[in-house]
């Protein structure tokens, strides 16, 4: 008897629920977010001069063969910025030599100033067929990073960064009173 009453009550509850839902009810997601403070892992003093900014979007895809029906395919779009310039920790001790109104500067080689250049918080999934695993995401990220670095370090970009570096240092030393600025 009790069993029958419970089943009846359940049916009434489901019926009432369905009635309310189909009378214009909406499925609403109620969100809560627990904020865990940002933790500073390390702080480092640096002296890096950036002279060329290369902003890129990289499209990476992969296909994982499956035996049944169709292969898994994934494509993601990565956003990154390569900052070309000089890191003063690479500079020789006497990288600036002055004599009267002349200064001779030896700048370190132009390089990408950051180890990682991708902002993964802006990565977008373009296509997804199958279950994308962390290993696939990591592999695509690494490939995007290498492709971006290779493209950013083109001969033209290195030349443009070096020329801009020379122009900026020339300007800075002229404003300090030097008439002639030479580069090695």
């Amino acid at each position: 008897m009790i069993k029958k009453i419970v089943i009846l009550l359940l049916l009434v509850a489901v019926g009432a629920f369905a009635f309310l839902y189909f009378r214009g009810g909406k499925d609403m997601r109620q969100k809560t977010q627990v904020d865990i403070p940002t933790e500073i892992s390390s702080i480092k003093e640096i002296a890096e001069w950036e002279f060329l900014t290369v902003e890129m979007e990289e499209f990476e895809d992969t296909v994982i063969p499956r035996k049944i029906i169709s292969d898994d395919q994934f494509a993601r779009i990565y956003k990154g910025t390569a900052r070309l310039g000089v890191d003063m920790k690479d500079a020789a001790e006497n990288w600036v030599v002055t004599s009267h109104d002349t200064v001779r500067i030896t700048l370190p080689a132009i390089r990408i100033l950051d180890e990682d250049i991708i902002d993964d918080t802006q990565t977008r999934t373009f296509y997804e067929n199958g279950k994308i695993t962390p290993a696939i995401k990591n592999a695509l990220y690494e490939r995007a990073k290498q492709d971006m670095r290779r493209r950013a370090m083109s001969k033209e970009n290195i030349t443009a960064a070096r020329e801009n570096a020379q122009a900026q240092f020339t300007y800075m030393f002229r404003s300090m009173g030097f008439k002639m600025v030479h580069f090695n």
Binding site: K26, I36, I43, E48, D61, T98
Partner: protein, 218 residues
């Protein structure tokens, strides 16, 4: 005959997978690239770690007897997504001019603009991701993860307002520029490096910080 009709439809679906879908190479989108000259001195680097969390539960919202009611559906889902980011503070020299340098005999004063902050990279730790799902809830989609990460990015940048990154950046700029000015023949005690104080005071204001970051990074 009807049986063959179904077979034809099934074959068409299978062939769609084999022949009609474009290869990933065909779908390859154009790579976007923009190059701009810049003149920035990065003076301090912060490596940060953030654990992003999110949880939700469903509820049916409806009208009953002219009253808006919300009936929660049992079951929830949660996600924990860790990420690491690198933030750097820099001095923008792109508008640096003679007006920023004042030489009086053997004394030199250099006035610099206030430091700015930029997130130079971020990496999501997908292997460290954890999901907790009730039996009646579906897994998080990639779009939901992307939305959570965008909010996380803003949160990390906003959290920097309470840090000492601006002060450290000023000190870093001093340490980077003094050897350069010394090499130009000025004595250390005769070198003054100062910052646009009004901008520095504003730098800890959250709205100002976010506006500054958006302009520079988005």
């Amino acid at each position: 005959m009807k049986r063959y009709g179904w077979l034809a439809i099934l074959l068409a679906f299978l062939m769609e997978g084999c022949f009609l879908s474009k290869s990933p190479e065909e779908k390859r989108a154009d790579v976007v690239m923009s190059i701009a000259k810049s003149a920035r001195l990065y003076t301090v680097q912060y490596n940060v770690h953030k654990v992003l969390t999110y949880q939700d539960f469903s509820a049916i919202e409806t009208n009953f007897l002219f009253e808006k009611i919300s009936i929660p559906i049992p079951g929830e889902r949660k996600i924990v997504l860790p990420m690491d980011a690198v933030l750097k503070a820099y001095i923008d020299f792109s508008s640096f001019s003679d007006e920023n340098v004042s030489v009086m005999g053997d004394h030199i004063t250099i006035t610099l603009p206030a430091p700015k902050i930029e997130m130079t990279s971020a990496k999501v730790d997908y292997t460290g991701e954890k999901q907790f799902l009730s039996w009646n809830r579906f897994s998080f989609t990639e779009e939901e993860r992307e939305s959570l990460l965008k909010k996380g990015r803003e949160k990390v940048l906003a959290d920097m307002k309470g840090s000492d990154i601006i002060e450290r950046s000023q000190l870093g700029a001093y340490n980077a520029l003094v050897p350069l000015v010394e090499a130009a023949g000025f004595r250390r005690e005769n070198i003054v490096i100062r910052f646009d104080q009004e901008m520095v005071d504003k730098s800890h204001d959250e709205q100002f910080l976010l506006k500054m970051i958006e302009r520079d990074t988005l």
